[in-house]
């Protein structure tokens, strides 16, 4: 029966996902990220704003994407190994609200970076984004509670590795929830407003990860081969 098992899509804010630097191996030899709040994560469901898409090299059909939520920016790559996602990506004109289901990858270069490898990316309505933020807030708070309780193996491991400042996490959750409350009513929503919001987020994110895409391509080949063989 286990052959039908698939990994759940975690609800995690960009702020937390980007702090994750540690891999764990599960019983099924599946490599997963350990989130700073003490749960394993190999797949995520995200609803955020696609800020931009940029081909890593001309005609490479390998695109770098950035997607923001109220707490930060997710970075990801879409290439020919994700034909569905690639096809949809090329039809999207950023900035636009999108839903993404994605595998997560850890890239260990000069610094450790979590990246997304989307299975699909699809434009969605604003209320979907609000639901996602509220849901992700709830999930994050419940993970924080478990961290405070302690005891569980992965929770202890997360304490050991990340020693997270939980009040900082709670602060980010609050900000995300406030973003929902102050978001325009769905009916009144205008493209203009969306644009403004996007620009703000863009500023706070760093731009350059040098030699990143080059090194990355090598990794992409490796990873996807193992995906296919596995």
């Amino acid at each position: 029966m286990d052959r039908f098992k698939r990994s759940v899509a975690r609800r995690v804010f960009a702020f937390e996902l980007n702090e994750a630097t540690h891999r764990i191996e599960s019983e099924e030899k599946l490599v997963q990220l350990l989130l700073p709040t003490g749960v394993p994560c190999s797949r995520v469901f995200i609803v955020g704003v696609l800020l931009d898409r940029e081909e890593t090299r001309p005609d490479s059909d390998f695109w770098k994407i950035r997607v923001s939520d109220p707490t930060g920016v997710f970075r990801g790559f879409i290439g020919k190994f994700q034909p569905d996602a690639l096809e949809s990506l090329l039809k999207i004109d950023p900035p636009e609200i999108v839903a993404i289901v994605s595998k997560v990858r850890l890239f260990e270069g000069n610094r450790t970076v979590v990246t997304l490898r989307p299975e699909f990316i699809v434009p969605v309505e604003r209320d979907v984004m609000n639901y996602w933020i509220v849901e992700t807030a709830e999930h994050t708070l419940s993970r924080i509670e478990n961290m405070k309780k302690g005891g569980k193996e992965l929770v202890e491991e997360a304490w050991r590795i990340y020693n997270p400042d939980l009040s900082k996490y709670e602060e980010r959750v609050k900000e995300a929830l406030e973003a929902v409350i102050s978001s325009p009513k769905v009916e009144e929503e205008e493209v203009e407003e969306e644009k403004e919001e996007v620009e703000e987020v863009e500023v706070e994110e760093f731009e350059e990860v040098p030699e990143f895409s080059d090194e990355f391509e090598f990794e992409e080949e490796e990873l996807d081969l193992s995906d296919i063989l596995g």
């Binding site: 759940v8 699909f120 509220v134 929830l177």
Partner: protein, 308 residues
């Protein structure tokens, strides 16, 4: 001892175990008449004689204890056991094998299990939604899942009880995180309703087919996931695209895949609330709708909890 003597002996034993002495000769005579003279199938003859005795002794069939132990579906874990169970027929499947009389799912309040009635068992057919005593059936495992087989020595008896099925009518909320293969505008085999892949039925090969619309997908709530099947009605309710509309779309674009991409665009990544009943692997969705609530209100609520 001839065959009929042996059966007579078994019946006598069975009644004896339950505390009733019966006349062996009488039983033998009746069996012989039914089986040899009237060519009644053995199992029916046994049943007829037993019923006669039960009436004669004015006892209920439940008093006869020689059946295999009565178990619940959840107790069935090892293959090769003789058991009896009271269960309701949940679903009958189309059987393609001539060796199989009926196949499908039966269940009680503890679970649902596949059953097979072998053609050789020579049993009257069961009906969906009716409850039966499946006496003396054999447990088996097939493809890693348990099932029960009804053979010649088994007995199927309709019962008055309305056996309850497990509370598997779940209600859940989650995001649609995948739409799987064989979704959209599909074709099914006219003989067995199976979905064709590249125009081929896995059982009947090249065959006459009809159109259907469905979505096989995964709804995920971040903690667990449900594999769901949406039927034509569900899809039409959510998207306005019914079977007719889907066929129109496919015609217009000379491509059946447009239907699937349209459904993906409209459904993937959205939140749903649905009710459904779990089959072996999939939740058969009963009702489904887009999740609608006031996100702001919920956000306020969480915030006040956080500050408080």
């Amino acid at each position: 001892m001839d065959r009929i003597q042996k059966i007579a002996e078994e019946i006598v034993e069975k009644f004896k175990k339950s505390g009733y002495e019966i006349n062996r000769k009488d039983v033998y005579k009746r069996l012989k008449l039914l089986i040899e003279e009237f060519k009644v199938p053995e199992s029916e003859a046994i049943r007829t004689v037993e019923n006669y005795l039960i009436k004669e002794l004015d006892i209920s069939r439940d008093k006869l204890v020689s059946d295999s132990p009565l178990v619940k579906v959840e107790d069935i874990k090892t293959p090769g056991q003789w058991v009896s169970l009271k269960a309701k027929v949940v679903q009958l499947w189309d059987s393609s094998s001539p060796n199989v009389s009926q196949v499908g799912l039966i269940g009680d309040e503890t679970g649902i299990i596949k059953f097979v009635i072998w053609a050789k068992a020579n049993k009257p057919e069961v009906e969906e939604g009716k409850s039966y005593l499946f006496a003396n059936v054999v447990t088996d495992s097939f493809g890693g899942r348990m099932q029960v087989n009804v053979n010649r020595n088994s007995r199927i008896e309709e019962i008055d009880e309305d056996i309850q099925l497990p509370p598997r009518e779940v209600e859940a909320v989650g995001a649609l995180v995948a739409i799987q293969q064989n979704s959209g505008l599909i074709r099914r085999c006219k003989k067995c309703n199976r979905v064709l892949t590249k125009g081929i039925c896995p059982v009947h090969g090249k065959t006459e087919a009809y159109d259907d619309l469905r979505v096989k997908g995964v709804i995920d709530d971040g903690e667990s996931y449900y594999e769901v099947i949406l039927n034509q009605d569900n899809i039409k309710y959510l998207t306005g695209i019914g079977l007719e509309e889907a066929i129109e779309m496919a015609k217009k674009h000379y491509d059946r895949e447009v239907v699937l991409s349209e459904l993906k665009n409209r459904l993937l990544g959205r939140y749903f609330r649905f009710t459904g009943r779990k089959g072996e692997r999939y939740f058969i969705v009963n009702e489904i709708d887009f999740l609608r609530y006031d996100g702001k209100e919920k956000a306020e609520e969480l915030l006040s909890k956080l500050s408080g």
